[in-house]
Symmetry: C2
Subunit: 311 residues, 2 copies
DNA sequence: CTACGGATACAACCGCTGGTTGTGACGGGG
DNA sequence: CCCCGTCACAACCAGCGGTTGTATCCGTAG
């Protein structure tokens, strides 16, 4: 099916006749007739009843019309998503089960009129160069990875400290604990597949290991969170970290336990980054929204790596 | 823009390489390459970065991908809307500011998983033949116009009695009344543009006129409810009937009055009609829904034309 | 260092889609 | 009864979009 054909159908339905639709589309009446005939052949139904005074929709045509309009709107939005200048606000969220997507959902709920596109970039370096080139407008990241200072023209604010919880199966040694301290985790195997070396997450867990002597296995291929959770549920010796805010969609009865971690609570520090000179009109709106909804940071009893910038 | 091209883009993005996408789409690698190149030329942005090991999305490509998927889903739904067998439930609602659309919205809210298409047919005869041919699955109508008994194979139930209210401007003689009786309306001009002769609505108002001696001007072109309401608001000598359930989207301060009518209250009797042998799986669900939400009918103090079938 | 494999891009060729022009059929209104 | 406006059909033709063949690039194995 061809979008020009759909456009022709809508034009003909609105005009009530092929001739006028043809004039509007700057083609001949015969072309419109052929396009409609082809569409009817493709769909297998008659869309118009032809009369000597024009063409009016059949019932099938009436049913098809709103879907055709929606199709054209979707095409419009698709093109707009890559249009330079006045395109939707393009935000990079960190590629993990994270809180950034939740923040963006909240923003979309309070500002449904602002068109959004969400992308996931590899690491903060990619994100920063994308911000500077204008390919994206904002990025949720942990600022900044060790030894790599942020460029002058990139601004940021801390928007959310995301506490980690321990996720275990029912057979785990800590499964019945109401909460665990970081010290209690020493010696237990914590499995974090899908952590890619070189990203901020990897640096975060490296620091966590270095500081408290934990055993975190960040290796192994990532088969998706289904496999991860399934494995954790069935393996008493394994646990994993998971955001407090991650909504588990998992059948009940698996006996999965979510256990808060204390003394201190490891939190992942999300910041919003943007280019100082980015002119996108929706960017201030996003910043204002996050300023109101964002929680405090560096609360007592929480831990973040040293290299996280304070502001 | 061509949907095959969009499909190709999505396939290539999922496969991560053109070759595999080509195999999946049963074309050559060169064809995929050309399609992607053409799409990039149309959009004016690069969608993939080509590597010796395949092709991965650029940031623009990432932003475009969900829109492309949505576009394909919309196309899917559009085709499904006219597919014979297992198509969305197709319901005819009466072509006026009516309660039927409200009922359908309610149904959609409680059963969002059921795909719906709404059409508006001219009169009950068209609706009945559409029901018998299977072109539509259900119809909201007033059953039945005088002298035209319903065929044997069409079933129906009364689902809603819709009370009429008087709508006046602030200068109208009855504007300050808390309620008016039908007898008080005698001599006042009531304007109902857009009532097409030969439809059930026309028959309804004809009966109302005949029974109570009202002055209803059902003639004149229909310029839309905006014009109607605007005129009523500014013309002290004019009033109109409007459903109690019609939500007015109108700037405040116009001083419009909605006045209940009593002794008796004219109600418009909506019935759901369907074909006895219609096999659509969602039809029983709709009937069950209407059975629970439907109000009673022929309540004391209400009026409907004689020819309305009771059940 | 070289050869090879697997990936994309470019060039040449060609069938067929989809446009135009010209014409016919049909039905309503003056 | 004729004329006008409408849509459909036929013939023709350009160009889009496919295929085949080939070049190029890069990572890797020998």
């Amino acid at each position: 099916m061809d979008l020009d054909t759909v456009r022709t159908f809508v034009a003909a339905a609105e005009a009530g006749q092929f001739q006028e639709a043809a004039a509007e589309l700057a083609v001949t009446q015969q072309a419109v007739s052929k396009r409609i005939a082809a569409l009817e052949r493709d769909l297998g139904v008659r869309l118009f009843t032809r009369t000597p005074r024009g063409a009016e929709l059949t019932i099938d045509g009436q049913a098809f019309l709103p879907h055709a309009r929606e199709l054209l709107r979707a095409a419009e939005r698709a093109v707009a998503s890559v249009r330079t200048g006045r395109r939707p606000l393009r935000v990079d969220v960190i590629a993990s089960r994270g809180a950034a997507t939740g923040l963006m959902r909240g923003f979309h709920r309070s500002h449904p009129e602002i068109d959004l596109d969400v992308v996931m970039l590899f690491d903060i370096e990619t994100a920063v160069s994308a911000l500077r080139s204008g390919a994206i407008d904002a990025s949720f990241r942990a600022v900044a990875a060790p030894g790599r200072p942020l460029p002058e023209d990139i601004d940021f604010v801390r928007v959310l400290d995301e506490p980690l919880q321990l996720l275990t199966g029912p057979g785990h040694a800590l499964a019945s604990a109401r909460s665990v301290t970081v010290a209690q985790l020493v010696g237990h195997r914590i499995w974090m597949p899908g952590i890619v070396p070189g990203t901020e997450w990897a640096a975060y867990y490296d620091d966590l290991v270095a500081e408290f002597g934990l055993t975190i296995e960040a290796t192994g291929p990532n088969f998706g969170s289904d496999v991860l959770i399934d494995t954790v549920a069935d393996t008493p010796a394994l646990a994993t970290f998971m955001s407090e805010q991650t909504r588990l969609v998992w059948p009940a009865g698996h006996g999965l336990r979510r256990i808060p971690v204390t003394d201190p609570t490891p939190v992942y520090p999300h910041s919003l980054l943007w280019h100082r000179d980015n002119p996108h009109p929706a960017l201030p709106t996003l910043r204002a929204h996050l300023a109101t909804t964002g929680t405090g940071h560096d609360a007592p009893g929480t831990w973040t790596p040293d290299w996280v910038l304070p502001r």
